[in-house]
């Protein structure tokens, strides 16, 4: 009931949206902002040159860090110059006019930047974290110095360029360009270790699953252009706000727009049912997982829905759909994460789960909560991935939480262990000292107000599970007695270069602790995650000043128990602490209890399916295999069979055989004897003569046959 009311509010906003949505004005002054995009592009070229000239040192990394850092500084400059939403035209890109007179329509998509608080908010953490993670990668990827190193940083540069175009583009086509660009960069970097079949398969999976979502986005873009006649944000919001006639007509093609945009967002941001690619994407190097598959790219879907937030009003069920998909994704991913043993995969599932929270936030109309959670999540999830990466780097690819223990007591691992602890605390939303607590509470409380009790309860249960699985990792890996087993992996197969002098450091008995670059980045990002606590009012201001602004519905009552915003901090704190306590019991105080619980569940036939199904990720991959891959495989092989035996053998070869048979039949006639040729010639002439002579009779005979055939 509450959800329906909230939705109505959104729909009736129409009239005063026109004044409420801040419309960007074009400006000619701030052309220098284009350097946010050009610098990563220059960095790409520089890395390409490094590869071409066979640079065998860390030059590509320093170039990339330098260019991306400059890009971040330009973003900061833009932020401090910012006064009101503007569009900055960099160059004219596509400008078509179709038809004449009253039918005139245009398709304009300039290479322009749309600068408002929402895009600035995104750009600040995208370029900032991009720089820091490139710095981290300079040490992490050092075993690949050479062609692979340049290729890696070129990929990061492409990603930053595409992500900037996605966020800053002033029209949907530029967003789409960036959208495909980040997808390509993601494919590039997941498949970085291209000699490893699993990495290649994961890269393909990510690309193909994303294509499904991209199809939705492309169709949505087309429908928007058809409905509103433009794809430029400023005009779009103006026309939507003024109650454009097509909106009121409200045919199915208008109501489909939010769902198509959603499909795109769910693909890119790994929501049900398209989330399967993200856990596999962990095949890429860890900095990539941190930057692309945790902090920035996967939030592109949230950005899309926040940017196009007013468009969710085009259909009454759109926002609730987003909310439910988000909540269910959060829950499902959390249950899978509970039963995994690979710490990087657990982090991947927690990313899917947290993205679910963000979509829940969008769906329950708190764009602020969603965007703030994106912001805080970018920091703490980057920390978590980077600490996992440091462990993987130091322990020769060991990621199994059963084979690592007590890292915090090992010399050189203190910074990693405690930054990871803070990252975990943020992820579970530990009360008051972490930014994750504030951002997650904003969403969960709003879920009770403008969503439904069901949504809110799912969010709370997920928070409990999150606390459990997150601290399962930390208690296992960083706490407890010191005990570890090194992995058998070097840093993945590289181009066959650069192992040489590093090979002796890895995989031979002693883990090697992270050095300056990794530790510095971990401390800096952890500090960022902490400082994000104080940025809550700032984030609210940023979102409310943009087109994603939305008056969050308030609860009816003002008492403590009537306003979820009041009781949520207490309830969420209790939930979190209970979750941590359970994890402490099973994974630190009494580690045998976890195995005992598992075997007791397996022993009972009624519950035996539960741990098995969770460890097998609820069989999502198998379901996809059965529903999509297997039928396609069967059809493909059937068609191949038809092609080989029907088309090739019967039709093509058959036709080719006819002239050969005919030739063989008439071959004896060509005997080279002059008289036999003369006989056939004379016979032929005689036949023709007879035919001419008896023409009337022949015609009558033929008519008799044909007529008889027709009549019969």
């Amino acid at each position: 009931m509450i959800a329906a009311n909230a939705q109505l509010d959104l729909l009736t906003l129409g009239a005063h949206h026109a004044t409420a949505i801040p419309i960007a004005q074009p400006t000619t002054e701030m052309g220098w902002a284009g350097w946010i995009l050009w610098l990563p592009l220059i960095s790409l070229i520089a890395c390409g040159l490094c590869a071409a000239f066979r640079v065998r040192n860390k030059l590509p990394a320093w170039l990339t860090v330098g260019f991306l850092g400059s890009s971040f500084l330009v973003t900061l400059g833009l932020y401090f110059q910012y006064t009101e939403p503007v569009t900055i035209e960099l160059f004219r890109w596509i400008d078509l006019s179709l038809g004449t007179g009253t039918d005139a329509a245009g398709f304009t998509a300039n290479f322009s930047l749309y600068v408002d608080q929402l895009s600035l908010l995104w750009m600040l953490f995208v370029t900032g974290l991009g720089t820091l993670i490139a710095l981290y990668a300079s040490e992490y990827m050092e075993s690949d110095v050479g062609a692979g190193y340049a290729r890696f940083f070129a990929g990061v540069s492409v990603f930053l360029f595409a992500m900037s175009a996605l966020v800053l583009g002033d029209n949907l086509l530029m967003l789409y360009l960036g959208w495909e660009g980040v997808g390509f960069a993601s494919y590039w970097l997941i498949g970085y270790y291209y000699t490893r079949p699993s990495a290649v398969a994961a890269a393909k999976k990510a690309f193909i699953v994303n294509r499904i979502g991209d199809l939705g986005l492309a169709l949505g873009l087309y429908l928007i252009w058809r409905t509103f006649g433009t794809i430029e944000y400023s005009e779009l919001f103006e026309r939507l706000g003024s109650g454009h006639h097509a909106t009121q007509a409200g045919g199915w093609s208008v109501r489909a727009i939010p769902y198509l945009l959603m499909l795109g967002a769910f693909g890119k941001s790994a929501q049900l049912p398209l989330f399967v690619w993200l856990p596999d994407a962990m095949e890429g190097p860890t900095p990539v997982s941190a930057l692309i598959h945790a902090a920035t790219m996967v939030t592109a879907g949230v950005y899309l829905l926040a940017r196009m937030f007013p468009f969710l009003a085009l259909d009454a069920a759109a926002a609730p759909t987003v909310a439910w998909i988000g909540a269910l994704t959060a829950l499902v991913a959390a249950t899978i994460g509970m039963a995994q043993y690979d710490i990087k995969r657990i982090m991947a599932y927690s990313t899917v789960s947290q993205l679910g929270y963000m979509f829940l936030g969008i769906g329950v109309l708190t764009t602020f909560g969603a965007a703030y959670h994106v912001f805080t999540h970018a920091f703490f999830k980057a920390v978590l991935f980077l600490t996992c990466g440091a462990i993987m780097h130091g322990f020769a690819g060991q990621l199994d939480l059963r084979k690592l223990s007590g890292l915090r007591q090992l010399p050189g691992w203190r910074i990693t262990s405690y930054t990871m602890l803070y990252g975990c605390l943020c992820l579970v939303g530990f009360p008051y000292v972490t930014s994750g607590f504030f951002s997650k509470d904003a969403i969960m409380a709003q879920a009770f107000i403008s969503g439904s009790t069901g949504l809110g309860l799912i969010a709370l249960v997920t928070a409990l599970l999150t606390a459990y699985y997150t601290f399962r990792v930390w208690f296992r890996v960083c706490a407890g007695p010191v005990k570890y087993e090194l992995g058998d992996d070097h840093h993945g197969p590289d181009d066959g270069e650069g192992h040489g002098d590093h090979g002796d450091q890895h995989g031979h008995g002693e883990p090697h602790a992270p050095r300056l670059a990794i530790n510095l980045v971990l401390v800096l990002i952890t500090t960022g995650a902490f400082l994000a606590i104080f940025l809550k009012p700032w984030a609210r201001e940023m979102v409310m000043g943009s087109t994603a602004r939305n008056a969050e519905p308030h609860s009816e009552g003002h008492g403590f128990w009537q306003d979820p915003h009041k009781w949520m901090p207490v309830v969420a704190s209790i939930t979190t602490i209970v979750g941590i306590a359970i994890a402490w019991h099973f994974h630190l105080a009494n580690r045998k209890a976890a195995d005992a619980l598992r075997s007791r569940l397996l022993a009972n036939p009624a519950t035996a399916w539960l741990p098995v199904a969770m460890e097998n990720k609820w069989y999502f991959d198998e379901i996809y295999h059965g529903l999509i891959r297997l039928p396609l495989w069967i059809v493909g092989h059937a068609l191949a069979f038809l092609d080989r035996y029907l088309v090739d053998l019967v039709i093509v070869d058959g036709i080719a055989r006819v002239p050969r048979w005919v030739g063989r039949a008439f071959q004896p006639l060509q005997n080279g004897i002059l008289q036999s040729y003369a006989v056939s010639m004379a016979g032929g002439v005689g036949l023709v003569a007879l035919l001419v002579l008896y023409m009337p009779q022949v015609i009558k005979l033929l008519e008799g046959w044909l007529g008889g055939g027709g009549g019969g």
Binding site: Q670, N671, I673, L674, Q675, A678, A682
Partner: protein, 112 residues
């Protein structure tokens, strides 16, 4: 206007039939000779015979229709046949020198 060829009366159908029967006979003799004999000179003579059969038929029809073009054609045919005879006999001599025989069967490699 006086016709170039002063044929006072056209052929009667009976006379035409006689000419045509003679022509057909000549043609069949030529054809059978061509098909049955192996000697190249005889075969060549047989083709000449068939030529003349056709020429005779044309003259007969020309006379029947009072049309001089039949005769004109025949004069052309004779001229061409004379030229062709010179060429063909030259060829036969040439072929004979190669194989020391006049049999047409000596030249049967050109098959398949």
């Amino acid at each position: 206007m006086t016709p170039l060829l002063a044929l006072s009366d056209p052929l009667t159908p009976v006379a035409l039939a006689h000419f045509l029967i003679t022509s057909g006979g000549l043609f069949v003799i030529g054809l059978v000779g061509f098909l049955t004999r192996r000697n190249m000179i005889v075969m060549f003579l047989c083709t000449e015979l068939m030529f003349q059969a056709a020429a005779l038929a044309m003259i007969a029809f020309g006379a029947y229709h009072l049309d001089p073009s039949g005769q004109v054609f025949v004069i052309f045919i004779l001229t061409v046949a004379a030229a062709e005879a010179a060429l063909a006999l030259g060829l036969v001599v040439f072929l004979y020198r190669r194989r020391e025989t006049l049999s047409a069967e000596a030249w049967s490699e050109l098959h398949e």
